[in-house]
Amino acid sequence: MLPGVIALALASLYLSALLAVEKQPLIIGLLALAVIVALGAYWMGWLASVSRSFADRENVLGTMAIVAAFAMAAYFHDDHFVLLLIVTVLLYTVATLGLNIQFGYSGVLNFAGASFFGIGAYTSAVLNARTTVPTLVVLPIGGIIAALIGSLLLLPVLRTRGHYAALVTIAFALLLKAFLEVNDVLGGPQGLQVKGMTVGGWSFNDSIELGKIELSFYMSYFVLSLALLVAAFILVRRLERSWIGLNLDALRLDETAASCFGLDVARWKITAFTLGNFLIGIAGALFGMVGGFVAPNNYTFADSLILVSILLLGGIGNPWGLAVATVIVIVVPEKLQTIQEYRFLLYAVMVIAVLLFRPEGLLPRPLRSYFPGWRP
């Protein structure tokens, strides 16, 4: 367990350092440092022991991770932008967790992740503006709408395989963006403003005064996003560590064999696809309120690809890997603003390198252990 704790501590320290530093040379230095340390740890076999301790004492370390997140938020309590970044990371992780159920477990391809994220966001934009539905209720509605619209694709998704299946969702991604662009009711390419979250008359968009210290208004979004992430994480974990997780894996690895052992292919594909879109939708709904603005350009095919590459980068099927990868994909380009013109380029090159030299991702998925630390 100790290696896990140390890793966690170092990671959160490093992350806060990276978030706090402004000077470009320092940032570049930090990034280089991270690469070196990571490689070193890998070479020394430390990473392995870290992942082992995570596998065995996940609950404890999970709790610690939450504490660490709070500590970080406390440290940046009045820094709007850093908090916004953290919130973004949290919500993108939720979305990729959903995507992970689809790609990682059941092998159902979904290249429209950003589209379902967007559906969630647009849901909150419309509902908050035109109805009196409590914003907290809007979140699950966003998920449900995403799942429902996704179910329009079920028939083709179930019938097609491989690249053909890929086309279905790619076509959907393009269709949705084109639709949002030309459709005036939803703001067209100009997009829509999204009213912020309000719970019990108290608006999330107001800063919070605690005696002398003033907290950024993103703080409340942070708390909510973290709660959402924890819930999603537990859900996905339990899913993986159950017969359902096993079914999905069997489905992904050999559909025919699976069906010869009584597995209902359609049922589990539908479950995975719908559940995944539901999670993505919820994350999107909340993210819409955080950003306060939705536009078709946020939810293009390219954005879906970013979500997918987070999945591969982190190690497909491994929730912890997702968290790490999301941090890399969201925070690093953000911190390298001064080379902003080149960030997409560098980022793409990085993913190519990972795919070439470490195709199983940064933190490969370990064998399923139904109960962490369980021994026969």
């Binding site: 320290l13 440290y75 709007h80 932008f81 306060g292």
Partner: protein, 388 residues
């Protein structure tokens, strides 16, 4: 964990102090610039960035200046979503005192709420949509360039005077294009022009043969285009492909060297309108161009460079006067009256809108934007398509 974090905090603070020890006696003040540095209209964005940068450099070179200024530049890619992200980043960074923001109306209108929410004073340097200043009454938001209303008035005025009666409208479906469509249609109606068809198109659409084929059937004398350079170039080129002989009548959105480079000879005879006098005719135009060329930037200032310069200069003046404090700067900008600038006197109305009356008419002649009055089209030596 928390202790560990505190430790880290301490270390970071130390690092920060070391890094932040000023080289000169003057203390550093950060000011921002946002514009489209990538994408189809990047030429205008880079021109604006350079001009703003020029203002900062001149100020830093000035021994009398109280502060050492650092320009933070962000790219809105002319996309509303990106704009909101970068605007949030800029507004959220406390030590950025004020900023000159946005060439694209679609991005400016999307971000005003952000600036208001975070209380960051901004001066818009290029976007022309009236709503940016007039939809709300945000003390944070100002604009040195004029709105699209007057240019569309002038536009309709000129074309009807030239005897054109039937118009087809193509506009991009962002608030920018919609706005132009709205104001031009109104202006045209008053002057008895007839709109035979209106087409909304995507801001990054590639193929317009579908729309243009329909327009060809409608056979208008003029195609009015409310949009920006990239699709302006495409539409003009594809008009030619389909053998459409009509005047191509644009807005301030296509007044850019990129438009002419993009079309070559095809650009000849394109009309466009822009608020404010042309740079060479501006009071400080000569001074601006000299300084600009002296800096050897690798892009021209483009149509709105002078405005970006003026906007940034205005901001720097305020900071010099009231010090690096967002609130004070907002208050100071609130009463800008007859302030001299390279674009002439600047006066903000109660919405922070500079009242620019003069509109310049342009026509492309021999690969240059020529002021209409000086052009051979005005003198009658050349004729626009179907001109009586």
């Amino acid at each position: 964990m928390t202790n560990a974090l505190r430790a880290a905090a301490a270390i970071l603070a130390a690092v920060w102090l070391v890094a932040a020890v000023p080289a000169e006696a003057k203390d550093k003040v950060k000011v921002g610039f946002i514009g489209p540095l990538t994408g189809g209209v990047s030429a205008n964005g880079l021109g604006g960035r350079n001009s703003a940068d020029l203002a900062v450099r001149l100020r830093n070179a000035d021994a009398k200046a109280k502060y050492e200024y650092e320009l933070v530049v962000l790219d809105d890619e002319c996309k509303p979503n990106v704009a909101v992200q970068v605007a949030t980043k800029m507004a959220a960074e406390k030590d950025i005192i004020a900023a000159a923001t946005h060439y694209c109306s679609s991005t400016a209108i999307a971000t005003v709420d952000v600036y208001h929410k975070f209380g960051l004073p901004v001066v818009v340097w290029g976007a022309v949509l009236p709503d940016i200043t007039y939809r709300n009454k945000y003390p944070e938001v100002h604009r040195v360039n004029g709105t699209m209303i007057n240019q569309n008035e002038t536009n309709a005025e000129l074309l009807t005077k030239l005897g054109y009666r039937t118009f087809a409208v193509i506009h991009d479906t962002t608030d920018y294009g919609k706005g132009h469509n709205e104001y031009f249609s109104a202006a045209l109606a008053q002057r008895g022009g007839k709109i035979v068809g209106t087409f909304g198109v995507g801001a990054d659409q590639q193929d317009f043969t579908a729309e243009l084929t329909q327009i060809k059937a409608l056979n208008p004398e003029v195609i009015y285009f409310g949009g920006l350079t990239p699709i302006g170039v495409r539409i003009r080129a594809q008009m030619d492909k389909l053998g459409i002989k009509a005047v191509f009548d644009g807005t301030s959105g296509i007044v850019s060297d990129a438009y002419i480079q993009g079309l070559g000879p095809l650009a000849e005879g394109t009309l466009a309108f822009r608020e404010g006098a042309p740079v060479e005719k501006l009071p400080g135009g000569k001074f601006f161009m000299e300084k600009y060329t002296a800096q050897k930037y690798d892009n021209p200032p483009e149509a709105y460079g002078a405005f970006a310069f003026a906007a940034m200069d205005l901001i720097l003046d305020s900071i010099e006067k009231v010090g690096p404090d967002r609130r004070k700067v907002i208050d100071d900008l609130a009463n800008v009256k007859n302030r001299d600038s390279i674009i002439g006197k600047i006066t903000f109305d109660d919405h922070g809108q500079n009242t620019v009356s003069v509109i310049t008419k342009y026509v492309v002649q021999d690969g240059k934007w020529v002021v209409w009055e000086d052009s051979e089209y005005a003198s009658g030596r050349r004729k626009l398509p179907r001109q009586k």
